[in-house]
Symmetry: C2
Subunit: 335 residues, 2 copies
DNA sequence: TACTCGAACTAGAGCGCGCTAGTAGAGCGC
DNA sequence: GCGCTCTACTAGCGCGCTCTAGTTCGAGTA
């Protein structure tokens, strides 16, 4: 920077002004300085910048590398952050790298706020995190912690899915839940409530699972084994999320069960996976882009308006009917 | 830091020493300082650190958010970087955020080196990047550019896969290529060479595609349409990568084509997708962890040993036979 | 006793910027 | 002429840390 200033015949301060696009430099000086900088190959050093201005204007995003829905969210985070003048740094939680570690990395790189995609950490940790920085949790509700929260109205989404299935004549509807996964508890409750509301509580069945393809496959094998043992297949399955639905579809299709002729499957998320099936996956759409935008805005507003109270955004999910749901099979009828 | 020093009754310098895990502080002082720091909630500011020591010890990783194999690589990058004492920053290329932008973000955050996972940028850009910083390209070979390079011996992998299929009696083997995707050109060439070597050049057929599930689905639909128009299905397909293979499997299974009874499918990568099929996907395993480790080591060695020449690591891939490949269907026989 | 030496610790410069408080000088009205 | 304002620019401190070149002190050695 000093080199640029000297070569352009101005002070370092003016160079600084120019690189910050601030008023106070004449057009010609500006051009001259920029030209010189380009020649020298000077680019402002963001570490020094951060240090000097005390603010980094950087948002940290913690995500789980293998969750496809997270990558959908990230796609939405970048443009919104850029629009608001913020940089984004990503840190992944993987097998062997805990969420806490991923978050620490972000924090030590001076992120002013962290956006946590479907965090699985203990509420106490999140609360502590919320105290010491601005934190936004996406998908997972942690009422006890001082963090902003963006999720979709799980109950509404599940209700739409269930109404859809019941309208198609389904009664034997099974739910594969998502274990400790984000939103799972709400979805499970909403499933039970919907079964009750439709007078199907005796048919209600929750099979424990996870938000992974493996879990869908396992459940598929379980259901097939049960069928072979004489217990009829359910006529519809509400999966914990799209990944789980995909796994289930794999296992069933593979075994000759035709979807939706023999059995209907509904996913959750509308991640980019949903389009993979040639017939499309019927699923509950969570608008990843909208959720991402909300998360970014929450973080930025908290940062810029001082100490706002943590807020909650509940977005309405929407059932997207594609090819994996259809009328209840004739043969199956009521159990 | 000053607060910690004062409260612990030592100088800032000593606090610095302790937080850098450097020798020169007694055990008891060390413990006392760390305790005080913990009480105050002090954590070293990495921006100031970078600025002061002139080195960031940070590696930047550019990846494509939706590429599952990239997430497999990332999983391997973290531990190796940590072992060598480096931080990792992730920056994703997405639809709407170019690779160049992702890389700029990394650079301005003071990453000393960038690891590019399957870069699709122009060789000229990569070369320029290689001039101004240490760059490692994973999966994509760019001989014209001054960058390190880690890939697997595509030709060997394809040859193994082809030998396997031919041994099972297949002759009508089609290859869906990966367009401009990393490794595609090599795989395509190797496919052609293998067909020739087995005397099957007349059967060789490369269907243009991409490294995506969509591409697999499209190709599946294409093949099915051709079958309906009278042209027999191939008996085996070598897909451009696992994602493409998965899409293909979806489309075919959906249409009643049983794999591997009616048709064999071989993928490429052995990404975590490969385990999704209940019967498992036969695929060419690229060891993501090993590749990741090589990439990290290349970057670190270049950084620490001054100006080494760019190097190339070629890892041997290995065919993993799972459930999607089997003997050629009786009915099909030789074309 | 006089010294050497190493372990434990400290003073203070400097990393590359941003920012506040300032100056120089041109233009204006009275 | 004077004071005033406005634009264009500058001096220099400080952000929070690392690092070099010390100092202090107690133990060991001749």
């Amino acid at each position: 920077m000093a080199d640029v200033a000297e070569k352009a015949g101005v002070s370092r301060a003016l160079v600084s002004i120019i690189f910050r696009n601030q008023a106070g430099a004449s057009r010609e000086t500006r051009e001259r300085v920029l030209r010189v900088a380009d020649e020298i190959g000077y680019r402002p050093d963001s570490a020094a910048r951060l240090l000097a201005r005390g603010r980094s204007r950087t948002l940290g995003v913690m995500f789980t590398v293998h969750q496809t829905f997270h990558t959908d969210l990230i796609t939405g985070i970048y443009p919104e952050a850029e629009r608001l003048g913020y940089d984004v740094l990503l840190s992944g939680a993987t097998h062997g790298r805990s969420e806490a570690k991923a978050v620490e990395a972000l924090l030590s790189h001076r992120c002013e706020a962290v956006i946590l995609l479907g965090p699985d950490a203990a509420p106490a940790y999140l609360d502590e995190l919320g105290q010491r920085t601005v934190a936004v949790s996406v998908s997972r509700r942690v009422p006890q912690a001082r963090v902003d929260f963006v999720h979709s109205a799980e109950a509404k989404g599940v209700r739409q899915a269930m109404d859809h299935l019941v309208e198609l004549g389904h009664r034997r509807i099974v739910h594969i839940d998502g274990g400790r996964g984000p939103g799972s508890a709400e979805r499970r409750r909403a499933y039970r409530a919907a079964m009750r509301r439709h007078g199907l509580e005796d048919e209600a069945r929750v099979i424990p699972g996870h938000h992974t393809e493996e879990s869908g496959i396992e459940t598929g094998c379980l259901l097939l084994a049960e069928r072979d043992a004489g217990r009829p297949l359910p006529t519809a399955v509400l999966a914990g999320n799209d990944r789980c639905a995909m796994g289930l579809l794999m296992a069933l299709t593979r075994a000759g069960v035709e979807v939706p002729r023999d059995l209907s499957v509904v996913g959750y998320d509308d991640s980019h996976l949903s389009h993979l099936m040639p017939i499309g996956l019927t699923t509950v759409r969570q608008d990843a882009v909208l959720m991402a935008e909300h998360a970014v805005r929450f973080a930025v507003e908290r940062l810029e308006n001082g100490e706002l109270q943590p807020r909650e955004a509940v977005l309405d999910p929407k059932l997207v009917v594609r090819g994996t749901s259809g009328p209840v099979p004739k043969a199956a009828g009521p159990a």
